[in-house]
Symmetry: C2
Subunit: 426 residues, 2 copies
């Protein structure tokens, strides 16, 4: 910390830092009942506003309807512990800055709610902050996409889904929409071209219309329009040619969810439980947010405990074999790890992800460690570094939604830790 | 079954029977998305209408916000199996009828979703119907009250609650309301006198206002008034003298919930988990419905799996010792089993419960077996028969809310089964 005047937060312009915005310190939802100015509510959108979201993201099911994703009745897959006290001091250079930062400092800079680092399958680092603890489910936001992308890649490897088929083959109702003629591959790699914005700073963006349609955001009587995720998806219009470039649009995953339901005859909660959650030896059930028609929010509605998210990453790092069984075929994992077309990706202009690509709802870095990751707004993530034999699972409640604002103190920290673990052994 | 014309259901006047109203047969919430006429929704109150409620009661958390009641990380308390095939044929005479009915017939007559019978701690009978299975949580409705009554009796036995103190000692905000000057004992035994109706057939009854305030029922913009459970409780007016007679009013339990929160500093979900759910060796987490301020519905919001409900009953039958530990002090259980004042109870006119009483949010039959029970609308129940060493846990979705309509084929069936188990041994 420096006393340099430039570092002193300025009221009304500088957001509260991680300590100042700690939900325990601010007393959200304490008392019986909580005082009106201490309530985090659904109906006033408070749950989506900073700093209230620091409490809400660890309490989603108390605010909206959810459906269970069962862990099943098998034993927990034990994660052996090998805690290290030398990780907090790992130094790295944030993107775009000339100074350095420690791993421990990065956790505060990123408004981390919890982080687990596995090295060779053992927990070497685990921290919880604010409203989160090891037993509590946190919203994964778009990390959810990578779960369903992994299931889709599995079904493709099993020849139960045809990546070259247009969406309308699986979902005839979308034949007249902008996504009906996109192939499943284009949907999975988000190279579809539709008129829809994912700009979280624009209150009229499609992502907010999608959320209001699905009941994830409150609706006033004046807000008419689509009243379920599917009704909204059917209204999307094409905007250019599919397959020309990567543009990140959550609706692709909800279309994928519709395809998965039709292809399997299962709900997404059943499918996620059967294919992944019940096989991972998870400690706890997960849950998915649902819309008023009972349809799960495939693009971002999953909630789970952090160690279980780490188990998912560790299963992938182990080529799909985990907990004494094959869970995801290696062909599916190879397809994910191989990545998409970096030229498609480059057009989207992600300055913190040079040379990266997007494949099967995963972000592939194409770095010298072969790292790939699942990413969700406000700092959610699973980061798999095959060369370092490292998996990082993180939940956060950053005041910024987009990861472009969070990557500068995240990606170089993860890479520095990977190199540290390789060099120091364990 | 008889071909007597009097037994043939008459459309539009006779409700669908259990088979006809089976939620699988009717196809509720099937398909992606479910067709509009197959949807069970919160916003149109469909979840509370028969036959949709037959699906909804096994899917509450998909319809409203809930908070987790954690089972903890201990092992499951195994319930040994000793299934008997001679129970289905146990005969009994329904109240008010001259013919007899078999146990198996009673399950259909009662729109049973699931039933577990324990004899000497072993499962001798277990059945699931419709939308329920052994792994799925079902709404317990007012059985919830008996959980909080048991916790209150425990805290009284520990001298942490004073049954003679007025409610306002614990909750000063209620000093000006009709319940502020009632003693905790009067609240626990529902001998308070307040202007409030529990008539489920009256759409203007207090119970519905209570539900709308708590967000358990949808509110239209025109429906102004209290906007949380606590706001509603503060509006209740006294109507006569407390302590003169039993009248069943759910708001007593929500007042008890407020007292418990203030006395312990815990939320009801934390308290229920710490005191009971985490100690029972439950198979699954439970959950509680919450209002828009995060306050749990103490009067009826608990959901759990059926075997776990049976474990709760078995713990009580064993004088509070279960799963290798003392969970509820025997003094608390003796207080429950001893019952309340039958003269107080008689004034309420429950024709199916002659000689019964109400104590600590439990219904005490004062029959020759010393049976007592927890009861919830539409047929939920836990029935403990000490003499027969029998515990019955049942979830149901009867088209009638009040148990007066369900008791005639329930209470004599339970008593007949108890006598059968005593006489036949095991």
């Amino acid at each position: 910390m420096s006393d340099n005047i430039a570092n002193i937060p300025i009221a009304a312009t500088e957001p509260l830092n991680a300590t100042e915005s700690d939900p325990n310190r601010l007393g959200w939802m304490r008392g019986s009942p909580p005082l009106p100015d201490k309530q985090v509510r659904f109906d006033d959108e408070g749950m989506y506003s900073f700093p209230k979201l620091r409490w809400a993201y660890s309490n989603i099911r108390r605010l909206v309807p959810t459906t269970n994703v069962a862990r099943g009745s098998g034993p927990v897959a034990v994660l052996p512990r090998a805690d290290r006290d030398d990780i907090d001091g790992v130094m790295f250079q944030p993107i775009g800055r000339s100074d350095t930062m420690s791993w421990a400092q990065s956790l505060a800079a990123n408004y981390t709610d919890g982080i687990v680092v596995l090295h060779r399958g053992r927990i070497v680092h685990e921290r919880y902050f604010g409203a989160l603890d090891a037993q509590r489910a946190h919203i994964a936001w778009s990390v959810t996409k990578s779960f369903f992308g992994t299931i889709a890649a599995t079904l493709i490897a099993e020849a139960r889904l045809d990546p070259g088929a247009p969406v309308s083959v699986y979902v005839p109702e979308l034949a007249g929409s902008g996504l009906g003629n996109a192939t499943l591959r284009q949907v999975l790699d988000m190279t579809t071209a539709i008129h829809y914005s994912e700009d979280y700073t624009d209150p009229e963006a499609g992502i907010w219309q999608h959320g209001r349609a699905g009941g994830i955001l409150p609706r006033t009587p004046a807000q008419i329009g689509p009243a379920s995720f599917y009704e909204f998806l059917a209204t999307l219009q094409q905007d250019g040619a599919h397959g020309q470039g990567f543009t990140y649009k959550t609706v692709n995953t909800d279309v994928l969810g519709w395809v998965l339901r039709r292809a399997t005859g299962q709900s997404l909660s059943e499918l996620l439980s059967q294919r992944l959650w019940s096989r991972l030896g998870a400690e706890h059930d997960g849950c998915l947010m649902v819309d008023p028609t009972g349809t799960e929010f495939a693009g971002g509605g999953f909630n789970c405990c952090l160690r279980d998210l780490a188990r998912f990453g560790e299963m992938l790092r182990n080529d799909g074999a985990w907990n004494g069984q094959g869970i995801v075929p290696k062909a599916a994992i190879d397809d994910i790890r191989g990545g998409g077309d970096p030229a498609h990706f480059a057009r989207a202009g992600y300055v913190t992800l040079p040379g990266a690509s997007y494949r099967d709802m995963w972000w592939v870095l194409h770095n010298e460690h072969g790292a790939y990751c699942a990413r969700g707004i406000h700092g959610q993530g699973v980061y798999i570094d095959p060369k370092a034999e490292m998996v990082i699972a993180r939940f956060a409640s950053h005041h910024i939604a987009g990861n472009m604002g969070i990557d500068p103190t995240t990606l170089p920290a993860y890479h520095a830790l990977a190199k540290f673990l390789i060099s120091s052994g364990s």
